[in-house]
Symmetry: C2
Subunit: 249 residues, 2 copies
């Protein structure tokens, strides 16, 4: 694995995430503590592993820039993508609770992350209950995303699944400034989509074609344009719900 350069260049008070509307405001004391908690920044290349399945990482991460994904694999290599990580998302909580991660995380684009030492998480619980609650908040949000994903893979048809992920990723990317207007820059191959949705590569490709023929979306290079939102939502059987400001670490 390539050497990882970890050093603090960005004080938490100037964290780029603070400029985004979707995140909650923090008190000065909270930011001070987070700055103490922070070990540095880590930058990785596209395709780089961030944590390995069954590994035991001493670090926790908050994504500052870029996309990645969480996954699990079966012994024979079949892969299931569990979720995507974007700016503001927290990586590695499971390892502080169970010692080992039961899933892996891999970068899709170049990623910059904030690094925290896992063994100091406990002091966060003793000294900053508001931040402790934030950690629980983040875990609970992940749970909700997984619930929805499970419904998608278990009960939606192929075209519903594809429509749903696109809509879902579009909304998430919008909120953190990774999409603008109707355009979503998806740093993802069709194989990734297939592994996300429990479909084969070939069928994913043919389903995307239907969605293009439909006039729902257009795709060029790696960017998707949402042409007909209401039709996409209808096909996806998606139900909208408001999101208030959310925390991050």
């Amino acid at each position: 694995m390539a050497a990882r350069d970890v050093s603090i260049r960005i004080p938490c008070s100037k964290c780029p995430l603070r400029d985004l509307e979707c995140f909650r405001d923090f008190t000065e004391k909270e930011v001070e503590f987070l700055h103490e908690f922070k070990q540095g920044e880590l930058t990785v290349n596209p395709g780089a592993p961030i944590v390995l399945e069954e590994s035991n990482s001493p670090h926790l991460y908050t994504v500052l820039e870029g996309w990645g994904f969480r996954y699990k694999t079966l012994p024979d290599g079949r892969r299931q993508i569990l979720n995507y990580v974007m700016p503001g998302d927290f990586i590695g909580l499971q390892s502080s609770v169970f010692e080992v991660m039961s899933h892996g995380v891999e970068a899709l684009t170049e990623m910059m992350m904030c690094v925290f030492p896992r063994d100091k998480l406990w002091t966060l619980y003793t000294r900053h209950p508001t931040l402790a609650f934030d950690v629980t908040w983040l875990a609970s949000r992940e749970e909700r995303l997984l619930d929805e994903h499970l419904l998608t893979v278990g009960r939606r048809t192929a075209i519903e699944r594809v429509a749903f992920v696109i809509w879902h990723l579009y909304k998430r990317a919008l909120s953190v400034g990774l999409a603008s207007g109707n355009r979503l820059d998806l740093p993802v191959t069709q194989q990734h989509l297939a592994d996300t949705l429990g479909l084969s590569l070939v069928h994913t490709n043919k389903t995307l074609k239907k969605l293009r023929a439909n006039g729902c979306i257009s795709v060029e290079e790696r960017t998707v344009e949402v042409l007909d939102k209401s039709k996409l939502i209808e096909i996806a059987q998606a139900q909208e719900h408001e999101e208030g400001p959310r925390p991050f670490l």
Copy 2:
């Protein structure tokens, strides 16, 4: 909905869960606080709704006895079972974080639960960081179970899925005393299994038949006997991992 009788009859110090080996020990102060936190017990009948999708329940629950399940449904009625709840499991965390639950919970057997007021969860974070960490622990465990379930539904074949869910439920039930020896009392219809695994009822039935013909399991009434553990594990492509003592509230 039937009237719900809530009153404290069991002090937390005599919580039946404390006798189970799988749970961690608590300090006197922790138990004292939990007893203050506790509002009472709630008993519901098989089939009763515990929380509804999109509802806003003011309560949190810890299961003391019985089985239930979490689920989500699509507008047209297709249902996905997300996970099962058994003694020691915590219900309703999402509602303290997002105001509304995005999933429902329903009882499979008669269930007894410990009831907590949602709005006092915050004082738990301020006064008992160890318990706060336990809440995070529980959320993180749920996340891990969902990860595994997603892999099952997304990437395992029908027979692998059925084998896996039986093995999984057997292990969980064993740890809390709901299974003994090789026998698992499953209070679940084949329709429930189908909705858990993303399969149709008919195909679930035929797949169970194969597993019986295999000599892996036998089924009579609602109890499943695991006849050949290693073959079941092999078919399920399950990977064992140790579990240390876990918390509950």
